[in-house]
């Protein structure tokens, strides 16, 4: 029994050392592209990886890292580059107060990241994966609602499908009410985040929170994304965040990644997300197909 434990421990140790050594070796040659754990981030990270591979770099993919952990990963030298959102950098990472001008947000996070973390933000894409609200097409037509101001005026006729956290989060309903006034919903119920489109499609609710690039928003005959006409929500533009030492060693990757980002606007990203989340294609295939069209 004792012997078995010893053998087991030795084997475990060997695996750990082996992994550490191979990690070290790979870190030397390959650029490690990371991604967060949701569709859009994986598609964009895959696009970065493809662009780098086409330019002759060896790429190691470190995908599907939890959103809350990836910043720590890049600080700990486990990832070299990953797609980040300007708003996330500003509010979640730097914990600064929200700013609503995209350029100002970008400049703020770029300077602060350089100073505090030795990380570089490359150019940001037009694509904005921010907070939003969507409404069913019928309700939009019936009450003439296209903006959040319209929504506030008609709230007493509408049923709200929340995910619970939206009602409590500072940048959720409380933030909206400060600027737009109170939302006196006809009813408000909590649903799982994955069900919000089904719930609205089946007519069990009229309005629900969403992120502005979610694939199902491409079904514009069913859902209408409302305009944040009083600019409550900060922009969440996509941009590659790169470790400074990697960028210094390979200065040309800035151009390669900036070129990818320049093609990404909100409609493009939403359509790519829809291919994965609605049409159930694999994100690798969707990214590869899109890469063919822009390279």
């Amino acid at each position: 029994m004792k012997k078995a434990i010893k053998t087991f421990a030795a084997a475990g140790l060997a695996v750990i050392i082996g992994a550490a050594v191979s990690g070290q070796v790979l870190a030397g040659d390959a650029i490690r592209v990371g991604s967060k754990d949701f569709t859009e981030n994986e598609i964009v990270a895959e696009l970065y990886a493809l662009a780098l591979e086409d330019a002759g770099y060896e790429v190691e993919r470190v995908f599907d890292v939890a959103s809350s952990v990836i910043h720590t990963s890049i600080l700990n030298d486990e990832v070299d580059v990953y797609p980040e959102y300007t708003g996330t950098g500003l509010i979640s990472i730097l914990q600064l107060d929200p700013i609503t001008d995209p350029q100002e947000v970008y400049d703020t996070v770029k300077d602060a990241y350089e100073e505090q973390f030795s990380l570089t933000w490359l150019d940001y894409a037009q694509a904005n994966d921010g907070q939003g609200l969507f409404i069913s097409k019928e309700a939009s037509d019936e009450y003439g609602i296209t903006t959040i101001s319209d929504l506030q005026a008609n709230a007493e006729n509408l049923r709200f499908a929340s995910q619970g956290e939206f009602d409590e989060r500072e940048d959720g309903l409380p933030g909206l009410e400060k600027v737009y006034g109170p939302f006196n919903w006809k009813s408000s119920k909590v649903y799982d985040n994955g069900l919000k489109y089904n719930v609205v499609e089946e007519g069990e609710a009229d309005v629900s929170p969403a992120y502005t690039t979610e694939g199902r928003l491409s079904e514009t005959d069913k859902f209408v994304l409302l305009e944040d006409d009083k600019q409550v929500w900060p922009p969440y533009n996509l941009a590659p965040v790169v470790r400074d030492n990697v960028l210094e060693a390979n200065p040309e990757i800035a151009d390669i990644l900036n070129k990818v980002d320049a093609t990404l606007d909100t409609a493009t990203i939403t359509a790519l997300n829809a291919k994965v989340d609605v049409d159930k294609e694999e994100y690798e295939d969707v990214a590869a197909e899109y890469w063919e069209t822009i390279k």
């Binding site: 995910q163 619970g164 409590e168 909590v190 649903y191 089904n198 069990e204």
Partner: protein, 210 residues
């Protein structure tokens, strides 16, 4: 932490009371449906080994499927809301009631039913005056197990818009706020234990009266 819990409790009192009401309502409806199905099926299953196999098998298979999966699978069929939640929870609650009912009826000693026949009772009288009272403690024990299980699982109802204390728990998970998780978790635990206790007291009263 204590302060934020107290603050949430004072600012959201009305909302929490509605959630407790919804939670209990869903749980009790599910228990009622499951008891009806479990006791009736259990009685028939107790009459022969073959019937028992065929009746308990589907329920045992269904019970293995996680309630969350059942909830989501039911959406295209029944839709969201209370009906789906009650159905999923009832499926969870049937097996303990069913199994205990079978055991309860089967364990009625033969000499008692034979005596009943001997003193001229009709089969119906034997059922209501001998078998049911004998099986009742086992059936109640099954219902109690089911009740505690259902109240704990009813948190999932919040995933499909049926309300309940799950709303606080899922909000807490989304926001990573421990105070909400504690409020929701403790409330469900108290509800579960409290209902279990009330059920015990009621059981004692009923069985004594018998």
């Amino acid at each position: 932490m204590l302060q934020s819990i107290a603050e949430y409790l004072s600012t959201h009192t009305a909302q929490i009371l509605v959630q407790i009401r919804d939670h209990l309502l869903i749980s009790l409806l599910a228990l009622a449906a499951a008891s009806l199905i479990g006791i009736v099926c259990g009685y028939f299953a107790s009459r022969s080994g073959r019937a028992e196999r065929w009746i308990t098998l589907p329920f045992n298979v269904l019970r293995v499927v996680p309630s969350l999966a059942i909830l989501v699978l039911l959406i295209p069929v029944i839709g969201t809301g209370v009906k789906s939640a009650v159905t999923a929870l009832a499926i969870l609650a049937v097996p303990p009631i069913l199994i205990n009912t079978v055991v309860g009826f089967r364990d009625v000693p033969d000499f008692m039913t034979e005596c009943a026949a001997g003193i001229g009772m009709t089969p119906r009288e034997t059922l209501w005056k001998v078998q049911v009272p004998q099986a009742l403690p086992m059936i109640f024990a099954g219902m109690r197990t089911a009740l505690v299980e259902v109240i704990a699982s009813a948190t999932l109802a919040a995933k499909i818009g049926a309300g309940g204390l799950g709303e606080i728990i899922f909000t807490g998970l989304g926001l990573n706020r421990a105070d909400l998780l504690i409020i929701g978790g403790v409330a469900v635990a108290i509800l579960s234990l409290g209902c279990g206790l009330l059920f015990d007291i009621a059981t004692k009263k009923i069985i004594k009266w018998k």
